[in-house]
């Protein structure tokens, strides 16, 4: 069982399928999710198995897709609204941030919104300025929303099942560069609790918190700096809200150093949150100032050399690690 290796997108699909088999109130809707099975095949075969009522193509009407998910959720369904790219969720933010996030609170708990808003996130070779967003920190900033960013197939499945079963709205983001990555995934249904981090690699010199695709980049960087005698601990929060501050603090108390690696932007970004949380709670354990290594504060350009320039990469992260550890005198000089 344990050595079955499948792609991220297959794991995600299997998680959704198992929930749809288990619970008739679960359904999917979005642009192209129907007979064609979604842009990246996330819902391949669902129409054949569940019918078009439970896997429905929608018009290009993001506000109505998200809002209809909210309404259906209020009335007892468990909708999965597929908004395709996180860049298009901007058209649905009223329904996600003002409605889904707040209705339970405003009603003093009389209503629930068990909806999942799914979208792809992050860069993928020259997707260009309007298809390369990493905007999870926007949603982290909204009380009432949970935000999930899996970094591997195993987590993709366990987290989508938890997201569907959760009684509140969850924003679930699938990194485009991870969709075809393979990993071990059990066939049976399982959940990963929202708000529990995973220590991807133990180490003693430096704690790196990385999310989404940057977990992959950071693991490569951590392997590179081993030759320099640097032992890195890598933590993947997996869910960005709620997030596992305990695991991060425990690690920083051990290593005394913190670097956050993020494909999003630094200003009021996810890295800023992690750093301020650590400074507020464990300042006395820090041997050096904490840092973050993010995408540069630029619209994502189309041309490959430009896009590569503003984005983190294993080599750049490894260099940053050496800087943090005082083993390099050549810090990146740039706005990050």
């Amino acid at each position: 069982m344990a050595d079955r290796r499948i792609r991220f997108v297959e794991a995600l699909r299997e998680g959704m399928r198992q929930e749809m088999e288990r619970d008739a109130s679960v359904f999917v809707m979005g642009e192209g999710v129907g007979p064609h099975g979604s842009c990246f095949k996330q819902t391949d075969g669902f129409c054949a198995q569940f019918g078009e009522d439970r896997c429905r193509d929608t018009p290009i009407s993001e506000q109505a897709i998200a809002g209809a998910a909210v309404g259906a959720a209020l009335a007892g369904m468990r909708p999965i609204a597929d908004l395709m790219w996180i860049d298009f969720t901007t058209l649905a933010t009223d329904q996600i941030c003002n409605q889904a996030a707040k209705l339970r609170y405003m009603s003093d708990g009389q209503v629930n919104v068990p909806a999942v808003f799914r979208a792809t996130t992050g860069r993928l070779k020259s997707n260009g300025a309007q298809h390369s967003g990493s905007w999870y920190s926007w949603y982290v900033n909204i009380p009432g929303l949970k935000v999930v960013v899996p970094s591997n197939p195993y987590d993709a499945k366990g987290l989508i099942i938890s997201a569907i079963r959760d009684n509140g709205p969850v924003v679930y983001l699938e990194h485009k560069m991870l969709l075809n990555v393979k990993g071990e995934v059990p066939e049976e249904s399982y959940t990963i609790p929202l708000g529990v981090a995973e220590v991807k690699k133990e180490g003693s010199d430096l704690t790196i918190v990385a999310t989404g695709y940057e977990v992959t980049d950071t693991m490569k960087a951590a392997a590179m700096v081993e030759a320099d005698g640097i032992s890195v601990e890598v933590i993947d929060p997996r869910t960005l809200m709620p997030y596992d501050s305990d695991t991060i603090l425990e690690s920083v108390r051990k290593t005394g150093r913190l670097l956050v690696v993020d494909e999003g932007f630094r200003y009021c970004g996810y890295g800023s949150e992690i750093i301020s949380m650590v400074v507020e709670n464990a300042m006395e354990c820090l041997k050096d100032r904490p840092r973050q290594f993010t995408a540069m504060h630029s619209t994502v350009p189309f041309s490959p050399p430009l896009e590569e320039y503003i984005m983190p990469s294993p080599v750049k992260i490894a260099n940053e690690i050496r800087v943090v550890m005082g083993k390099s005198l050549e810090p990146e000089v740039a706005i990050r």
Partner: protein, 324 residues
């Protein structure tokens, strides 16, 4: 339409067609870093509409916008270099296939967010009105986009304020894999104009004389100050949604039938039939444009990429954090 205008329409359509087919080859050969949404078979819309526009008239367009740029007067090589992510492209490689601009000829943006160009065109029209000019704005968009709030909000506002905007819906029967029949419960999208108290018309988008005439009406109305028009152009998306999409969600027969309604063949035959051009004229024109596009492709291919640091021009980080 005089002879020159008739031939002009043919020339524009040929330019667009050959540029798109050339880009398809370049995509196959790995010269384009991303996918590309091509416009083959829809050329009569961009050509017919833009033939009514002055250089100072402005347009917004979509992810499928290469043809609109050419029809509005962009040199094919600047468009193609942009698609190839080169420094010589119309946006120096920052924008790419989905994001092209050239304000000097009124290309105010091809927009990658479906529907996103419509409110912007509404604002272009508002500015024209506030500035007291008779400039007009045109928004090109798809059948799919007409189901987005942006469409409805824009039409209502433009009609309310009598803005000089022409909304050109390219009904190519698909939005990605979703057929218009599965997304839109009406036959003619142009009827939506009625609900906003504005003019709406449906034309055959593969007949450039029809698109030209409808746009001529609409542009005249807009310049007179009589408000916006919705023009629905029925056409067919010959290729996949983007290069690499095998489009298995529709039948070969359906695509073949659409190919037989080729807008360029149609117009060529009209011009041959009424004596505007001879077979030899067509061969000459075809050859001239083939050369133009071959040169454009070579230019795009041989141009250099922008230097990486260019990425940070215009970027908005906190200046005092520039150096760590």
């Amino acid at each position: 339409m005089n002879r020159e205008m008739k031939i002009g329409l043919l020339e524009t359509m040929l330019k667009i067609r050959k540029a798109e087919l050339q880009l398809a080859v370049m995509f196959k050969n790995g010269k384009i870093p991303s996918g590309a949404h091509l416009y083959e078979g829809e050329e009569a819309i961009a050509a017919g509409v833009c033939a009514n526009l002055r250089t100072d008239d402005q347009i917004t367009s979509t992810h499928r916008g290469h043809g609109h740029c050419i029809a509005k007067g962009m040199e094919p090589r600047r468009m193609m270099a942009e698609v190839c992510a080169k420094s010589t492209g119309c946006c120096s490689g920052k924008g790419g296939t989905m994001h092209m601009f050239d304000p000097s000829i009124g290309v105010m943006g091809t927009i990658g967010i479906v529907g996103g160009g419509m409110p912007i065109a509404t604002g272009l029209g508002l500015a024209a009105k506030l500035q007291g000019t008779d400039r007009v704005a045109v928004s090109f968009f798809g059948d799919g986009a007409s189901n987005n709030g942006a469409f409805h909000e824009s039409l209502n506002m433009a009609s309310l304020w009598k803005l000089p905007v022409i909304y050109v819906c390219e009904n190519n029967q698909f939005a990605t894999s979703v057929s218009v029949k599965r997304s839109t419960p009406i036959e003619d999208i142009s009827v939506r104009a009625i609900g906003y108290g504005m003019s709406g018309v449906t034309v055959d988008g593969n007949k450039v004389d029809e698109t030209y005439a409808a746009a001529a009406d609409a542009v005249a109305r807009a310049r007179r100050g009589d408000g916006p028009t919705l023009i629905e152009c029925k056409t067919y998306r010959i290729r996949g949604h983007f290069e690499g999409d095998d489009a298995i969600y529709r039948s070969k027969e359906e695509v073949q039938a659409a190919r037989e309604r080729d807008p360029i063949e149609y117009w060529k035959n009209v011009l041959l039939g009424d004596g505007t051009i001879s077979e030899q004229d067509f061969i000459d024109l075809n050859e001239k444009i083939e050369q133009l596009i071959a040169q454009a492709a070579q230019f795009a291919d041989e141009s250099s990429y922008p230097t990486p640091e260019d990425a940070l021009k215009l970027c908005g980080g906190n200046p005092s954090l520039l150096v760590k």
